[in-house]
Every structure is written in structure tokens, then in C-alpha cells.
């Protein structure tokens, strides 16, 4: 499905914002102000931006945990101040400073993830089930990495969503690695989307560095699911050009990945630069406009950071916490 100019601009703006925020998150964690982990997005933000930019508020989404769903949730329209505040353990955090990085935005049908990779699959069956049960045309955008598809839970989700023709989009951001293990070490075949064929789920393989290719795939998948045609699988080939988590290792097995190769990826595969060049060529933006978008994104990130700094650390009493274990 071809993108129109407005859609391209939206995607680009969201990608630039995601990029600025990912940098800001890196500043915060390096300054020791973040609680818990951060798993940098780096040059792998385009798939997430595309996944989120064309969804409705009532579409359910499980954001990929990489970049902690930042790219995904930007398009979804959540309040990013409370997202970052949560990462900083502040009272204004979207989960009152309790969730670490497992943020949730129930009004946006983003219900928060758990610490287990692969735990995204079962709930997403439920979101699709609920849509079908109620007869709505909501879709489910289920984003996760290649590693998560090794979990048996992925099989169950594909099987069940195919069986019930649920509006379930499997959005697999394949960077060819899980933590410190190359996919070739643990996954017997090249393309994760092969799994879809078993269940007759239509699948696309997309260049995850090409923002607009990702956007087109998202439109196609969403249209398919929204029309009641059942699940859809999109595999987006991308790269991890830095360590798994901030302060962690950047290894494949026992071997550190070649820093030169990483550097080369960052230089040649930067989705912002690639998309900007296209937009300029297509005369949708001038170079100046692009600089303005970047400056706006930086300002947004700075404002969010300031807001969060000003928010007090969340240290509620045990009594208050105990009152929150059960819903009324």
C-alpha cells in the first residue's frame, strides 16, 4: 500500500522524535537517573515507529521491549512525560513509579509487558479475541524481536489467531541476535516469517531500515486485520548496532562484535538519514524543514526531561502500596 505525502511526513516526524527520545533516555541512564534497565533503540527505531503511527487509540498494542516501546508508542499518542517519569521512578510515572520499564497505558490499549520475553504472545491473542467477541474492527499490533519467536508461546499465538481469524499482526523486528546469541546459533532457518506459512498466515519481509517500506507494510497489515481477514505477519530486518542493554555486553557468543562494523551500520543504515534523503528528493521536505523537525524533537525531549526531573521520586508508604494490590 503506497504511502501519501502526509503519511510519510508523519512517519518521519515520529522517527525523528523517537530518535531524540532514545538519545535522551541514554543521557538519563548514563547520568544514573533511570531506574532499571534501558535497551537502546539505536538504528532500529523505524519498525516501531511504523507499527504505531497508523493505529487508532482503541487498537491494542504490545510494543517491543527494545527502546522500551518508545518508537511504537509515539505514534500511539501516549503521554511521553509519564512514560519517561516512570523510567525515572517518579510520582508522575504512568504506573506511579512501580513498573520500572514495564510501562502501561490502558486508555491506549497498551497494557504493559512483563519481564519475560515471549510473554507478549498470549495476551495479544486475548486482545484480538475481545475485538472479535465484541464485533469491533480493532486490530492488535504485537511487536517483538526475533528471539521471542523461539518461545513456544509464539507458536500458540499464531495457531490460535489463525484458527479464529483474529486481527492479530505479528510484527517481528528481526535484528538477527538475542542478547549475546546470534540467531544463526539458535534458530534453524533464516526467516522467522517462515513460521507464518505453516498456519497460512500471509507474511511480508521488509527492510527495517527503510522507514517507508515499514510504513507500507504496517498499512497493509492493518488493513488486512481490520477487514477481518485474520492475522498477518511482518518480518522487519534490522540491526543492533550497540550493546544489548546499556552497560551490558555487545557480544555474539564469546566474541565482542566488531566495533568497526557497528560503526559502519550506524553510518550507512541510519533510518533517519535514509528517510530524510528520500523526502528531500521527493520534495516533501526541504533540508531546512528537516532541521526544524529535529530541533523540535530535541526540544520535546528536553522538556520531557525537565518535567521528569521536577517530579518527586515515588516512595509511597507500604500501607499505600498494600492498598493497591487488589482492584475494588
Amino acid at each position: 500500500m503506497a504511502l501519501n505525502g502526509k503519511q510519510k511526513k508523519l512517519l518521519f516526524t515520529n522517527l525523528v522524535r523517537a530518535h531524540a527520545l532514545d538519545r535522551m533516555m541514554m543521557r538519563i541512564i548514563r547520568a544514573g537517573k533511570m531506574v532499571g534497565f534501558y535497551h537502546e533503540g539505536g538504528i532500529a527505531l523505524a519498525p516501531g515507529v511504523a507499527a504505531g503511527s497508523f493505529l487508532r487509540q482503541d487498537d491494542a498494542m504490545n510494543p517491543h521491549y527494545r527502546a522500551h516501546g518508545l518508537a511504537h508508542m509515539i505514534g500511539k499518542g501516549v503521554d511521553l512525560r509519564t512514560y519517561v517519569a516512570e523510567h525515572m521512578g517518579r510520582v508522575d510515572g504512568c504506573c506511579k513509579g512501580r513498573s520500572s520499564f514495564h510501562v502501561s497505558f490502558p486508555d491506549h490499549h497498551i497494557f504493559g509487558w512483563s519481564g519475560n520475553i515471549g510473554a507478549n504472545f498470549p495476551p495479544c491473542i486475548g486482545y484480538g479475541f475481545a475485538a472479535r467477541y465484541r464485533g469491533t474492527d480493532q486490530v492488535v499490533m504485537n511487536c517483538s524481536g526475533d528471539g521471542s519467536y523461539q518461545e513456544g508461546r509464539a507458536h500458540e499465538a499464531m495457531l490460535m489467531s489463525a484458527n479464529w481469524k483474529l486481527p492479530h499482526i505479528f510484527w517481528c523486528e528481526n535484528n538477527g541476535i538475542s542478547q549475546s546469541t546470534a540467531a544463526s546459533e539458535t534458530f534453524p532457518v533464516q526467516d522467522v516469517s517462515r513460521l507464518a506459512a505453516t498456519f497460512e498466515i500471509p507474511a511480508l519481509i521488509v527492510d527495517g531500515q527503510d522507514l517507508f517500506a515499514c510504513g507500507e507494510a504496517a498499512l497493509k497489515a492493518i488493513a488486512h486485520a481490520r477487514a477481518g481477514k485474520g492475522p498477518f505477519f511482518v518480518e522487519l530486518k534490522t540491526y543492533r548496532s550497540q550493546e544489548h542493554n546499556v552497560g551490558g555486553l555487545n557480544n555474539e557468543g564469546a566474541v565482542t562484535r566488531d566495533p568497526k562494523l557497528m560503526q559502519e551500520w550506524r553510518e550507512t543504515l541510519d533510518p533517519v538519514a535514509l528517510a530524510a534523503a528520500k523526502l528531500i528528493k521527493q520534495r516533501l521536505y526541504t533540508a531546512d524543514e528537516i532541521e526544524q523537525i529535529k530541533a523540535d524533537a530535541e526540544r520535546e525531549a528536553d522538556e520531557i526531561e525537565l518535567f521528569c526531573e521536577a517530579s518527586p521520586k515515588a516512595t509511597p508508604s507500604i500501607d499505600e502500596l498494600m492498598n493497591g494490590v487488589y482492584a475494588q
Binding site: A60, G93, C94, C95, K96, R98, S99, H102, V103, S104, P106, H109, F111, G112, S114, N116, A119, F121, P122, P123, C124, I125, G126, Y127, G128, F129, A130, A131, Y133, R134, G152, R153, E156, A157, L159, M160, N163, L321, N323, G324, V325, Y326, A327, Q328
Partner: protein, 331 residues
């Protein structure tokens, strides 16, 4: 057995525990279109309480699930987050361990960890109980493990009246509730009113009043305890309390009783170590120490996997073992 509740109701009849469960399901499904039922082979009714429900409510609301426990959990969990009120039938409660992370950690943590802002109205049903000769996974009573993990509610009825009332409470609750039932009690009959009623979670029931010793017991063991109490009636006056739910747990009811009796035996069919009975011992240490004239005694399944064969009939607490324990604490 006491007939609390029934008195206020105009009409009661004797039905089985299974039928009481079926009534609870049917009534709640009639009341609320958001309630649906999912489980492996529930349309046919592996256990009778789901049999026939598909005829009234259709295949949309009574769903035969695949053999995929984490996936089935996900249907219920995700749908509950989206505002539906799923009832997930595990068949045997022990099968739920196949979705261990989801059941023990994720379901109970969701509400709290995400800022106590969004409910999770999710009911799970599973049967359990020793004495059917089939051993471990088909017998495991998971309540000791379940209550260890915060955020879940867990109950186990001993009568049809309680079964219906607790199951209705579970379905109306905005939290994950694991409703257990004992396989050996499916056909047990008892009075159940025709009117709508609930048995709230967290309210224990004095099933037999007494003054010398308190016995705390659930499910099949409630019946074993009543037998033991009856056998001892000329010597020792035994009060038998059914907690009905393990979490929330009605500690006040227990303390009121022990205030009177000063002695406590906890009967628990689950594995002994670090289970519900251990927790009650600890609570008695903390809140009831001065009430006691003798140490609390546990009568549990010993710390070995639940065997099959002829062994499970005596590896679980029996009326004899309970009787002996009562005598011991009353010495």
C-alpha cells in the same frame, strides 16, 4: 453442616456441587454478556458443570480451546484487560502450571505493578484433590503455591451452597480469582436457594460449632474433619471452620474461635511444606500466640509428590489422622 444463608431464602432444593457451579456460570452469563467461558473440551463437558451451556449461550461464549495453556491464559488475560469478564477452565488445576509464569506471577502482578489503575476481572476454574489414584498433576492442589504469589484470590468450596456463591463472587470480582473445586465433591449434594446470592470471598464459615478445639479445613478435608468431630463428640467438642477462601483469608473468624477453644488443628490436603497450613501457623504466632494453650498442629499431605495407586487414600489427611491430631492437641 450449617445451613447459613438458606434460612433467609424462600426456596431451596438439593443439588450437586457440579450443578451448583453450572447454575453460577449460567446465571452470571445471563446477567452479563461480557462473561464467557473458555476451556479444553468444555462444550461436551469433561466435567458436568459445563455440559449443555453451549446450547444456551452458543459457541461464541462457550469455547473449546486448543491444548495450549499459556495461549488459553492469554485469551482470558487479554480479554479481561480489554474489559471482558472471562472464565477460564483449566480442567485439572495442575495443568495451569504449564502457564506457570502467567498464573503465578503475571496475573497477580498486573494491577499493582502498573499503578493500580486498571482491573483484571479474570476467573480461573480448576479441579484438584488427592484420592483419585491418578497422582500428581491430576491431583495437585495449587492453593499453597497460588497464595504465596501476591495479587491472586483463591477459594475452594466444600458445599454446593458455597460453590455457587463463591463462583458468582469470583466472576463479579475485578481481580484474578482461582476457583478450585475438589474432584471428589463434584457429586456431593446440598441445599442451594433459587434466589440470587453470593458468598463473599474472605468470609469463613463455622461449619460445626464447638468449644474445646478448632479445626480449620477446606474442600474434602472439611468433610473428613466433620467426620472426625462427629466421632469424637462424646469426648471433645470440636469447632470446624471452613475458610472457603485462602486469600483473602478470614483470620478474624479463626481468632474468634481459638479465643474460645485455645487449640487449633489445621487440615490441609496440599503439600505440607510452606503451604496454607504453614501460613496459618505463622499468623497464629503473630496474632494469636497468647490465645493458644498448645502448639498448633498441621495435618497435611506429607512432603512427597502425590502418588497414584492405592497410596493416595492414606497419604492425604484421613478422618483417622485428623482424629488423632485433635486428641493430641487436646492432651
Amino acid at each position: 453442616m450449617n445451613a447459613k444463608g438458606q434460612d433467609k431464602m424462600s426456596t431451596t432444593r438439593e443439588i450437586t456441587l457440579g450443578d451448583a457451579m453450572k447454575e453460577a456460570l449460567a446465571e452470571e452469563m445471563r446477567r452479563d454478556e461480557d462473561v464467557f467461558l473458555l476451556g479444553i473440551s468444555i462444550r461436551a463437558g469433561t466435567f458436568l458443570y459445563t455440559k449443555g451451556l453451549v446450547d444456551e449461550f452458543g459457541g461464541k461464549r462457550v469455547i473449546d480451546a486448543p491444548l495450549a495453556e499459556p495461549g488459553n491464559f492469554g485469551v482470558a488475560y487479554g480479554a479481561a484487560q480489554e474489559g471482558l469478564r472471562p472464565v477460564l477452565d483449566w480442567m485439572y488445576a495442575g495443568f495451569s502450571y504449564f502457564a506457570g509464569s502467567e498464573v503465578f506471577l503475571q496475573s497477580g502482578q498486573y494491577h499493582f505493578l502498573h499503578g493500580s489503575q486498571h482491573p483484571l476481572p479474570l476467573t480461573m476454574i480448576g479441579t484438584c484433590g488427592v484420592g483419585r489414584r491418578v497422582g500428581n498433576e491430576h491431583a495437585t492442589l495449587p492453593y499453597g503455591a497460588l497464595i504465596h504469589h501476591p495479587g491472586l484470590k483463591v477459594c475452594l468450596p466444600s458445599t454446593p451452597y458455597d460453590a455457587k456463591g463463591l463462583l458468582k463472587s469470583a466472576i463479579r470480582d475485578n481481580n484474578p480469582v482461582f476457583f478450585l473445586w475438589h474432584t471428589s465433591l463434584m457429586a456431593t449434594k446440598g441445599h442451594v436457594p433459587l434466589e440470587d446470592y453470593v458468598v463473599p470471598l474472605g468470609v469463613a464459615d463455622v461449619k460445626r460449632a464447638g468449644s474445646d478445639v478448632t479445626v480449620l479445613a477446606s474442600g474434602l478435608q472439611l468433610h473428613h474433619s466433620l467426620k472426625a468431630a462427629e466421632a469424637l463428640k462424646d469426648e471433645i467438642s470440636v469447632e470446624v471452620i471452613d475458610p472457603r477462601s485462602f486469600e483473602p483469608f478470614d483470620l478474624d473468624c479463626l481468632l474468634r474461635s481459638v479465643e474460645k477453644t485455645s487449640r487449633l488443628v489445621i487440615v490441609d490436603e496440599d503439600y505440607e511444606r510452606a503451604g496454607f497450613a504453614a501460613e496459618v501457623c505463622a499468623l497464629m504466632m503473630e496474632k494469636g500466640y497468647d490465645l493458644l494453650d498448645a502448639p498448633v498442629k498441621r495435618v497435611c499431605h506429607p512432603n512427597m509428590p502425590i502418588p497414584g495407586g492405592y497410596i493416595d487414600a492414606y497419604s492425604m489427611p484421613t478422618p483417622d489422622r485428623i482424629e488423632a491430631a485433635i486428641r493430641e492437641v487436646c492432651r
